[in-house]
Subunit: 221 residues, 2 copies
DNA sequence: CTCTAGATCTCGGCC
DNA sequence: GGCCGAGGTCTAGAG
């Protein structure tokens, strides 16, 4: 905890006027400067790897020069008053265990393709193309190929992504014609307009309902 | 500083096994859980606004329940041992003063459009369209319209963005034909290929040189 | 290593 | 308030 002033120079230049803040130095050399509010993003910071040099200004204040050895980013911290100072060894953290995001949605839809369109069947998940994998490759009731792009939130870039896949897939005479389905828990209006203008079908997915169906089916066995 | 274990449930579920970490509680109620490494992103957190309730487990350990009043996110922190505990009022921070990013690049190019192509002149910055503003609308030496998209780093999504603008602008008989220039300090190879495949001209911009020209011109007055 | 796409993104601007 | 674009994005995963 210190009254400090900070100047950053790198991809941009930024300045923090003098105020009381939290300075956190991590074991890997990284530095975080936090205010008493806002979200988790620090006011300013320096990512590892970086080096910290401590010096003194002509006025007798503490000066920290933090610099990155690979980029030319620098952070200069002037410390006018130390209100609190403590140091602890934490060791290596076992890390965060995550569960259930877009991947789970893809798994559920892969098991229940017909929930996207009647008669739809799965060909394969993560169907490979030269520009990246298509989330689901399916066939409709008439045997035509259908590429499915799945998002938690459907926005314009997702439509662009599916459009690129469709353009590429439709060059393959063995697959042509390939149609597209854009599936998401929520589809933004602009994304829907763009998708439908390009002949892509939009489907909003009810995650909880789908999970319910899935659980019910598994209970049958 | 505490030995703790954390469970988050909300947009996803996540778990942090017991380990020693930094717990930061901010004045606005937000909570950050940091390890002794990684970058500025906490292992887990709760964004403001949120409420913290302190309780005790059957084993006598401290339990913090942090919940959001608007979403249904919850964070449960079990504290097994407190290694250090300190509290300070920091007050409101004057905040970060930023300078010089994409906006500055746009200003410089608006003042020196001919650096993008010989004879190019500015019509207007932030030229409005139904799907968003075009960074620079210009005219070439023959009087044809030229839409310019400016990025610090030129990647595929920037090319897609310009492509959408061009498609829309070219529907306007008063503007047609509109050509495109994709300007960036650095253009990724894949973005360049895509742009050139679509007839979009790529220009890499030397920010420092441009600033030098600009400074020199201002010194003349 | 690069490139791609997601993120409990965060943050700011504009409407 | 929402939507949209940018970020010193960061981060994980695939090729």
């Amino acid at each position: 905890m210190a009254r400090c002033q900070v100047d950053y120079a790198g991809r941009l230049t930024a300045h923090l006027p003098m105020a009381t803040r939290v300075l956190m130095l991590k074991a890997d050399g990284s530095v975080l400067i936090h205010a008493d509010g806002g979200s988790y993003k620090p006011l300013n910071w320096m990512s590892p790897p970086c080096n910290l040099r401590e010096g003194t200004t002509d006025d007798g204040d503490i000066e920290w020069m933090v610099s990155s050895p690979k980029s030319d980013d620098t952070l200069r911290i002037l410390i006018f008053e130390i209100l609190h100072d403590t140091s602890h060894e934490l060791g290596i953290d076992p890390g965060l265990q995550k569960d259930g995001v877009e991947k789970h949605l893809q798994e559920l839809l892969a098991e229940h393709p017909a929930s996207l369109a009647p008669g739809l069947t799965l060909v394969r998940r993560e169907f490979p193309t030269a520009i990246g994998p298509v989330d689901l490759m399916c066939r409709d009731s008439r045997g035509s190929s259908v590429a499915v792009e799945i998002k938690r939130r459907g926005e314009i870039d997702g439509v662009e992504q599916l459009t690129r896949y469709l353009e590429l897939l439709n060059r393959d005479p063995l697959l042509h014609p390939v149609s597209g389905i854009f599936a998401a828990q929520l589809i933004k209006p602009q994304a829907r307009v763009l998708a439908e203008d390009r002949g892509i079908t939009c489907v909003t997915v009810d995650y909880d309902a789908l999970r319910g169906i899935d659980d019910a089916e598994h209970r049958l066995f």
